[in-house]
């Protein structure tokens, strides 16, 4: 039986036979229109299209609105919602235990740039393999709208109070500290964020994506520089981003005069079509200069600012054995009797 042809087409599946629904999570409890929800959607799409096995992904977060969001995508992945500002340590430990995991960290500007600044700094310099998504809205949403350390000078709260301290540019910081894939996007820029996330999945090392993600409840008003309106007026993309995964045939050539191509660790290609003359995303010094110039003009530069697809990751440098440390058998982790005898003899 069951040979009767049906009119409904077979469900659409990705290269490992999973449907997009297999990448979904619980229902969001964030505000309607929150930029974070759009980012969760982009993560689902990118993971689905890249054919990442959900069971291999480990999601990490700290505390705050953004850090709640791992519950709203990829239910088939393990997740660890840890303590405020200290997700990097938890993710690092997990990757030491099992280097086969694909680590995805979700954090916010409060979680990363204030309480978690120390851990952020050291995560970047280790180049741990992790996709670190910073959902940046310039304020503390969960405690009702106080300024964060990414708020621009002069931007105002809903109450009218102006911020008088300079913002920390997480991208400039990450580039200086040693992250090997650094970019900024906007939760409302569906196409760009989607391409960047797919490239991030192909990267082996720390990917730091600062995604401006407006807080519709506390920071989307006139006077905010993290609002939808401000971003629509001031987003300044560096390039058009096109990502060609390793498993896809490349059938379109590119013009090296107008496009910068990066071959990723797994053979994927990241193609950045230049919107401005001669931007080279492998030049750290220029990247930081360009970020500062843009900020001085009140613009929000987006795109892949810096990439080094060949740098050794933290796990490479530790020279750990191929099998995950977590599940090594006793025979591999307990030296033999003769080892203890030799040590005891030395101590006599």
């Amino acid at each position: 039986m069951a040979t009767t042809p049906t009119s409904t087409p077979p469900p659409k599946v990705n290269r490992i036979g999973l449907q997009v629904v297999d990448y979904r999570g619980g229902k969001t409890t964030l505000c309607a229109g929150c930029g974070h929800n759009a980012i969760s959607e982009r993560i689902i799409d990118a993971m689905y299209e890249m054919g990442v096995k959900p069971e291999r992904v480990a999601k990490f977060s700290g505390i705050g609105c953004s850090s709640k969001s791992p519950a709203y995508f990829m239910n088939r992945s393990h997740s660890f919602n840890s303590v405020h500002g200290r997700m990097p340590a938890v993710a690092t430990g997990a990757m030491l235990a099992n280097k086969d995991l694909i680590a995805l960290g979700v954090t916010g500007d409060g979680d990363t740039v204030s309480i978690g600044a120390g851990q952020f700094v050291h995560l970047m310099r280790r180049n741990l393999p992790i996709i670190y998504v910073l959902e940046d809205n310039g304020c503390y949403g969960l405690t009702k709208g106080q300024f964060s350390a990414t708020a621009d000078i002069g931007s105002t709260l809903k109450t009218g109070i102006a911020n008088d301290l300079p913002p920390i540019d997480t991208c400039a910081l990450a580039i200086q500290l040693g992250a090997t894939f650094v970019g900024r996007s906007f939760s409302g820029d569906k196409k760009q964020l989607h391409s960047m996330l797919k490239a991030a999945i192909a990267h082996k090392g720390t990917v730091m994506l600062d995604v401006v993600s407006p807080c519709v409840t506390f920071n989307d008003h006139e006077g905010s520089t993290k609002s939808y309106k401000y971003m629509q007026a001031h987003e300044e993309p560096l390039h058009d981003i096109n990502f060609v995964p390793a498993f896809e045939e490349i059938n379109v050539d590119y013009d090296p005069g107008t496009t910068f191509e990066v071959t990723m660790h797994d053979g994927s290609r990241l193609r950045l079509r230049k919107l401005e003359e001669a931007y080279d995303p492998t030049d750290k010094i220029n990247a930081v200069r360009r970020l500062m110039e843009s900020h001085a003009k009140g613009d929000v530069l987006t795109g892949v600012f810096y990439i080094n697809a060949q740098a050794p990751s933290f796990i490479d440098m530790l020279n750990v054995t191929d099998e995950p440390l977590a599940t090594l058998p006793e025979s591999a982790v307990r030296p033999g009797r003769e080892a203890l005898d030799a040590i005891m003899e030395e101590l006599r």
Binding site: E55, H78, F80, S82, T92, H122, N319, L325, L347
Partner: protein, 612 residues
């Protein structure tokens, strides 16, 4: 009544007094960074090789070079290796402290001093020997800049002659000390020999102290507690170590790195471990928890200030139920306190570390041997109960050299606790992370990376139900907290049991833990010998308390809890645990001066409290 009226002086010989064999305390006063550590180790080992039980305790400043430091060697034929209060033989090498050091000696003690210090004018009731170190060092050490380091070895030769330590044993100990440095070995040996020869030709023995060959150290090893812990962790199958340097715990991980590099490289030439120096203690414990959640046997080592910093993360591990092993090599707090002195001052803060209702399993090693064995206990308990386990060592145990029987090869297989595999999930279909299936409070977990669609669960420090889903429901919260408490109650019968010394029928009971043990053993003998007081002694080895601890309090009229802190921290934990009517039986003997506790102080205080 002054207890000194009845307590005989121990081996503080008067001139012309009968010889004292194998029972003395030698103190060497030097300057930090002057190479005295090598000389002290050689002297300690020489006496050990003579078959005499020894202990060596380093009293050092929080400083790299220049401040005074004292090293005390106790040699005792009966095997008492606690710190001894009285100094019998002072080696005064430090001009800054020499006068005060000499003034504090009991009459009849011997003093070996650097000739220019002229200490013999200070007192007439001591036995003085002077040595012109600068004159002796020049011919044996042509390089002037090395003389400061070699000078200390001269005293080893002098002391060897005066105490009649076999010079061949000195040479053997010295060659072992400098095993990988032939030039340094020869230079130092020449210095020791010069001291010995000088003493033979110039010093007339007038003190009563002698080392005589015995056979009480045959087959034994010498090791510090931190190295023993490092070995224990290596043989317990630890795979992830994340740490932040802090005195007195740093040497635990540093030694572990050395051992792991030698013994834990797989056939592929790659490491079966990862050791990472974190940016601070918060990150160190965070990494331990991340690794424990992902299935590794993970640990860190720290001291009091680190424990304070780890409080928030410890609560997360407790509530999310992640295994973690934390070594606390206790030093003197509060705050920075005395970073290079010993204490048992983190007991209460660790027992309840973190906000909300939390309580943690603690183990209390008393010896280097237990540092080794409790390492595996700690990992087994952490993974069995899916919770942080603290091993409460201290500076005295961790950083000083102790003699011990060789460590036995672990006889228990490594147990990883309740972890569901892909195959288990195929049979079960699904699972609830925090459901108490077995009635012991311990749920089943899966590790990230488990290749099954039902494997994932959401680890969160916020309120959750049996299925690890977010929940603020009062009934979910209460049920979950009660189940976690059940784990703690179950642990009472899994943790290391206490150790009883005595018949169990005496009126007086003593409770102690960790390094206080060595003073208690000696104090029990002093009580019996000097006061005819029989005391039973129960050594606590773990928290939560097992049944035996409760029984011990029930069976004794007066229970003295001896510990090295001000606030009677273990006694306080005990009072929370025992029946209310027994609380008045508990009395406290507390020491907080930063030096290892000694038997005489315990005996004196106990007799005073006994009203005798």
């Amino acid at each position: 009544m002054a207890t000194t009226d009845v307590v005989p002086r121990e081996s503080s010989g008067q001139p012309g007094q009968a010889p004292v064999f194998n029972d003395m305390s030698i103190q060497v006063a030097t300057v930090n960074g002057s190479g005295s550590q090598s000389s002290n180790s050689v002297l300690l080992r020489s006496i050990f090789q003579m078959g005499v039980p020894i202990s060596g305790k380093n009293l050092f400043p929080s400083n790299i070079a220049g401040l005074p430091t004292w090293y005390t060697i106790r040699a005792n034929k009966d095997g008492y290796i606690a710190r001894k209060k009285e100094i019998d033989f002072l080696v005064a090498m430090n001009s800054e402290t020499a006068q005060e050091d000499v003034k504090s000696l009991a009459p009849g003690a011997a003093v070996l001093y650097d000739e220019p210090l002229g200490l013999d004018k200070l007192r007439s009731d001591l036995i003085f020997y002077s040595v012109p170190y600068d004159k002796l060092v020049a011919p044996v050490c042509p390089e002037a800049k090395l003389r400061k380091l070699v000078k200390n070895m001269i005293y080893v030769g002098v002391v060897a002659h005066l105490l009649e330590v076999d010079l061949a044993e000195v040479e053997k100990a010295l060659r072992k000390q400098f095993a990988r440095k032939a030039k340094a070995a020869n230079l130092n040996w020449a210095a020791a020999k010069a001291g010995y020869d000088y003493a033979v030709a110039n010093l007339v023995k007038r003190d009563p102290f002698y080392i005589r060959r015995m056979d009480k150290t045959q087959g034994k090893i010498i090791i510090d507690g931190n190295s023993a812990a490092a070995l224990g962790c290596m043989f317990a199958g630890c795979t992830v170590v994340t740490w932040y340097p802090i005195t007195p715990s740093s040497s635990l991980v540093e030694t572990m790195i050395e051992y792991m590099k030698e013994y834990r490289i797989g056939p592929d030439g790659k490491a079966t471990f990862a050791i990472v120096q974190a940016e601070d203690e918060l990150a160190a414990i965070g990494m331990v928890i991340g690794a424990g959640w992902a299935g590794a046997r993970s640990m860190t080592a720290t001291a009091g200030p680190g424990i304070s910093l780890m409080a928030e993360f410890t609560g997360l591990a407790y509530y999310v139920e992640v295994p973690a092993v934390i070594w606390d090599i206790q030093r003197v707090g509060p705050s920075t306190g005395l970073p290079t002195r010993t204490a048992q001052g983190d007991i209460l803060s660790t027992a309840f570390l973190s906000h909300g209702d939390t309580k943690h399993i603690m183990l209390f090693p008393n010896s280097v041997s237990e540092c080794f064995t409790m390492a595996q206990d700690a990992f087994d308990l952490a993974e069995h109960f899916q919770t942080p386990v603290f091993v409460m060592s201290d500076l005295d145990l961790g950083m000083n050299n102790w003699m011990s029987d060789p460590f036995p090869y672990p006889d228990k297989p490594i147990k990883r606790g309740k972890v569901l595999s892909k195959e288990d999930l195929e049979k079960l279909g699904s699972f609830a992370r925090y459901k108490d299936i077995d009635g012991d409070g311990v749920g089943y977990r899966t590790l990230p990376g488990t290749d099954h669609p039902a494997a994932a669960w959401f680890a969160r420090g916020s309120g959750h139900n049996e299925k690890a889903q977010y929940s603020e429901r009062p009934d979910d919260f209460e049920r979950n907290m009660e189940r976690i408490n059940k784990k703690f109650e179950t642990a009472r019968s899994f943790v290391p049991r206490p150790e009883l010394t005595g018949t169990g029928k005496a009126e007086v009971g003593m409770l102690a833990y960790g390094t206080s043990h060595w003073a208690i053993v000696e104090a029990c003998d002093q009580l019996r010998r000097e006061y005819n007081v029989e005391a039973d002694y129960l050594r606590i080895r773990a928290y939560p308390f097992t049944r035996e601890v409760h029984d011990f309090v029930e069976r004794h009229d007066r229970v003295y809890v001896v510990e090295q802190n001000r606030d009677a921290q273990m006694a306080s934990l005990l009072k929370l645990d025992i029946n209310a009517e027994l609380v008045t039986r508990v009395r406290s003997i507390c020491h907080i001066h930063g030096l290892p506790i000694d038997a005489r102080s315990v005996t004196d205080e106990l007799m005073m409290m006994e009203g005798k």
